[in-house]
Symmetry: C2
Subunit: 349 residues, 2 copies
């Protein structure tokens, strides 16, 4: 190990142009080979403590920032996880993402984000892009994907977790609550409280598979209770144009006997409560209103909204953990994690 009396001056100069500080410069300044510097950073155990300290001190002083592109290329590990959400503007997905990031970042992984805008085609293209970046893993939202997308993922052998929907037979790994069960439980809750004739309102801003699963759960309990199946409506819920409470009017005009409306989401359900109160429909006396998903609005509206709470943040956390397990080569205990949910019985139903 050679002593470099001039190394301080060199370091000061190097700091001016960060881009020029390479592993090799650090190695020269420290009087060791490049691989030793590399090991000091990535595999400290394989270097003697004395060398490590010396090298790291110099690397630090020179303001060395390892080039992860080069490192990833050489090692075939990018330390990046690609995450596809429908839209990050929806706080639900923000919370999932936060949960995942809170697990992945401390482990040294960075999150590459993509918004699919509820398009499976866009999702596929994002997956392609992510694979181009050679991400070490991919987190997808929902269980409904393009065949080609799953194919590509499988062929590329990139670990993948489907979030937000329970899937006992995932194409790789999955974590989420059962939307079917949630629909069934909410239905049971309503039936137990005397409701007999349901409408179900699906809407944009939620992917089809989850919407349908919730409906199917509802259908099942209706059947089991000997009730008519729920009337199925479909609306758009662009935040700008209001949340489509008007559908309540339509429903009651169509089928006056309906005494409970279940909305696929909570925002829309809140809009429906507003509307009903405004036009004088008594909630819950005349009409029960319920939804899926929770938020402060659901709690604070009058009457407050009966809804199903999903453990959103936990979903991201568990997805991150599954991914980490896989990446660290540990034998996965299970490929699919089932999360619960909770019926929040409030005033609207």
């Amino acid at each position: 190990m050679v002593d470099h009396p001039s190394s301080d001056a060199e370091a000061a100069h190097a700091e001016v142009e960060l881009s020029t500080v390479r592993l090799q410069e650090v190695a020269e300044a420290a009087g060791v080979s490049t691989i030793t510097v590399s090991r000091c950073i990535n595999n400290p155990a394989r270097v003697s403590e004395k060398t490590r300290e010396h090298v790291l001190k110099i690397a630090n002083r020179m303001g060395y920032i390892p080039n992860r592109l080069a490192s990833s290329l050489a090692s075939a590990r990018s330390m990046v996880i690609g995450v596809v959400v429908p839209t990050i503007a929806n706080p639900i997905h923000g919370m999932v993402l936060q949960g995942a990031a809170d697990i992945l970042e401390p482990a040294g992984y960075q999150v590459l984000l993509g918004n699919s805008h509820f398009s499976k085609q866009s999702e596929f293209e994002l997956v392609r892009t992510f694979l181009g970046h050679r991400v070490d893993g991919i987190l997808l939202t929902g269980r409904d994907h393009l065949e080609e997308c799953l194919d590509l993922l499988a062929r590329s052998r990139t670990p993948m977790v489907e979030m937000f929907d329970y899937n006992p037979e995932p194409s790789d790994m999955a974590v989420g609550s059962s939307n079917f069960d949630a629909g069934a439980s909410l239905g049971q809750y309503l039936i137990a409280r005397g409701r007999r004739q349901f409408a179900y309102v699906g809407h944009t801003g939620l992917d089809d598979s989850r919407m349908i699963a919730r409906l199917q759960g509802l259908i099942k309990v209706c059947e089991a209770a000997g009730l008519a199946p729920p009337r199925h409506y479909e609306i758009s819920s662009d935040p700008g144009t209001g949340t489509g409470g008007e559908v309540v009017g339509t429903i009651l005009r169509d089928v006056p006997e309906i005494d409970a409306v279940v909305f696929a989401g909570h925002q829309v359900a809140v809009g429906a409560i507003r509307y009903s109160v405004d036009v004088g429909i008594a909630v819950p006396q005349r009409l029960a209103i319920a939804g899926f998903g929770d938020s402060p609005i659901a709690k604070w509206i009058t009457p407050s909204l009966t809804t199903v709470r999903f453990p959103v943040r936990e979903n991201g956390i568990e997805a991150g953990k599954l991914m980490l397990w896989r990446l660290q080569g540990k034998q996965c205990k299970q490929r699919s994690i089932r999360l619960g949910f909770e019926i929040l019985g409030r005033d609207s139903a």
Copy 2:
């Protein structure tokens, strides 16, 4: 250009193991050099149409996905933008991010996300990490950063946009509304409606500089109107432990003459309205309540919250545009973009 009768068979085989399809394989299958394939993808104009079509068809058939790590390393452009937000679980930042992504993704850039959890130190570390990934640009939230962080950014010559706060003298580029002006305008609005004695409640979940700028605007108009400066309170607003409406009680006990409370955020203000209604403080007759930032809850609570709406999504969009301009080498018209805001006068003040 040689004809390869067996190229189809080769392609089928290659598809099995995606990881082995390299530029060179495509080049061989197409009977051209690697650089020609590269140009077909990145610089189509430099290749004759005939060659391009032929090459792209083969690349497609082989399921070739360019390795962006290698490409970035060789070209010194990663097509990745790093974005640091305090927490993506907050829908405000989700919407900003969405705006930015909606501009950047169509231009071929991907977003690498980092959560600083309101810590400037974490922000700095994320910036270091991002620079390690050789991002082409960085978007930060707020105008308050570690000195070292700005230094590093400047030395690395990485384009950077500060979002969410107007800054006429940004260290690189900036976009946002003036929080000082927003505070002043809200103050004027309240004074015009007869309020004379203010309290201002800052809270966690918002960085200091914005909170203080809003307060300073308020102080200015109080002075100008010959009123006493606002009383300054500070609370924590962890979503779990409620939104601290109790501070209203404290304030009125401290200084009963206070007739208007301005909250640094809207969630907390909504909590304060709830509390006031519950304990029988007449809003707005006895006490005006106002906040900054808008959301459905602010509108739907009774009484509805008077607040300041910032153009959140536009913030992200403009930040993305600024970044793109810079990256495309166009002369920036301006380094700092000032966005407006809107006083939403509702029932609470």
